[in-house]
Symmetry: C2
Subunit: 216 residues, 2 copies
Amino acid sequence: MTQRKKVSEAVIKRLPRYYRHLSQLLEGNIDRISSNELASRMHITASQVRQDLNNFGGFGQQGYGYNVKMLHAEIGNILGLGQELSCVLIGAGNLGHAVANYANFERRGFKIKGIFDNNPAIIDTKINGLTVQTVDDLIPFIQKNQIKIAMLTIPAVSVKELIDDIIEAGIKGIWNFSYLDMEVPADVALVNVHLSDSLMTLAYKLNEIEYLKKNQ
Amino acid sequence: MTQRKKVSEAVIKRLPRYYRHLSQLLEGNIDRISSNELASRMHITASQVRQDLNNFGGFGQQGYGYNVKMLHAEIGNILGLGQELSCVLIGAGNLGHAVANYANFERRGFKIKGIFDNNPAIIDTKINGLTVQTVDDLIPFIQKNQIKIAMLTIPAVSVKELIDDIIEAGIKGIWNFSYLDMEVPADVALVNVHLSDSLMTLAYKLNEIEYLKKNQ
DNA sequence: TAGATTGTTAATCGATTAACAATC
DNA sequence: TAGATTGTTAATCGATTAACAATC
């Protein structure tokens, strides 16, 4: 565990981007990078790079910059990658299928241990090697396998029914795709992916650009 | 077109949430709401609600609050919903399937007119009533049908190859799921959905909570 | 050593919150 | 009218950027 003080949401959201760009540098066999170069690749300022990193420690060296390999490892560590995180996927519809088959997640340590749905037509089918189970078996499964993360790709109404129970069963992190602003206890981590919201901001931006064009 | 001045990204991202909560109020047959009530439902401050809305106009009435139906319509209008937006979906893998089948988008005006992939095994199959076409036919399709939005559910390398061409062909909005920080001209709207990044922030938050617990 | 570049403090900028006069 | 609640200005808070001494 590397973090010390409360780190702002803005910084946390940039961490995976740092990690991604450092991965690319690593692939390109680049040994060192200055805050300036890294910043220009990411379209942010060098100041911001240094401020962000110094939330977690002084990883650089004056006159030299940052060692790519070392910084990559440090940020991976800060993000808590590498360690295996056991997950359940709740909802085996189209989005659930996409999540279940996304190999990238497993590479980062997220291991889906069980897939659940309440649609009889889907139960007992196989997705990426796992048999879809009925939601009735979800709670004992979480307890027995000490699952820490739930990926929710079911409708909002179903989430409302399940959420208290899965948290009580031991879920500590929720990756929520449902169209719902939920509240969770302070010791449970929640990250929302609201695809509809995201698409609506695209509509807004399209309009804005068109509007600006019309008025010179 | 309702917007006047430059509205901050933070506000834009909250607009779909306002819209969503107002939809719920509407469904619940609630006629009016104060900034205070709306704020507490959304877990933000009443001040923020009033500041946000006043970026676009004075939609409320002193002593009364906001008319739900009217405010809902206004925000829908600000977001540019209702009008039909023609889209192409590029990438018919698992994520592409999920996007193509997500009825919610069509309800908001996003109409997928064509689906493209470069995998021969997928070309000519049907997804949600549309036949998957080869990527070779993409550019003429965009031009002929005056498509404005591209939804990218293909790998980053493929995006790099396509991006300049589709913009030249007339694409004005990009909804990008690929693991790539791309640059687009100022008159093209870009919204990224980086699922891996999102999941990594969940890992971070899990670690943080555990860390805080250990140190009291 | 001289040059480069960090870590960090200070300045600026922008977003959020508070306060209150206007007004329905 | 009195009470409620907005619209809006001012105050605060936090995040970003600039500057520069420390140092490799």
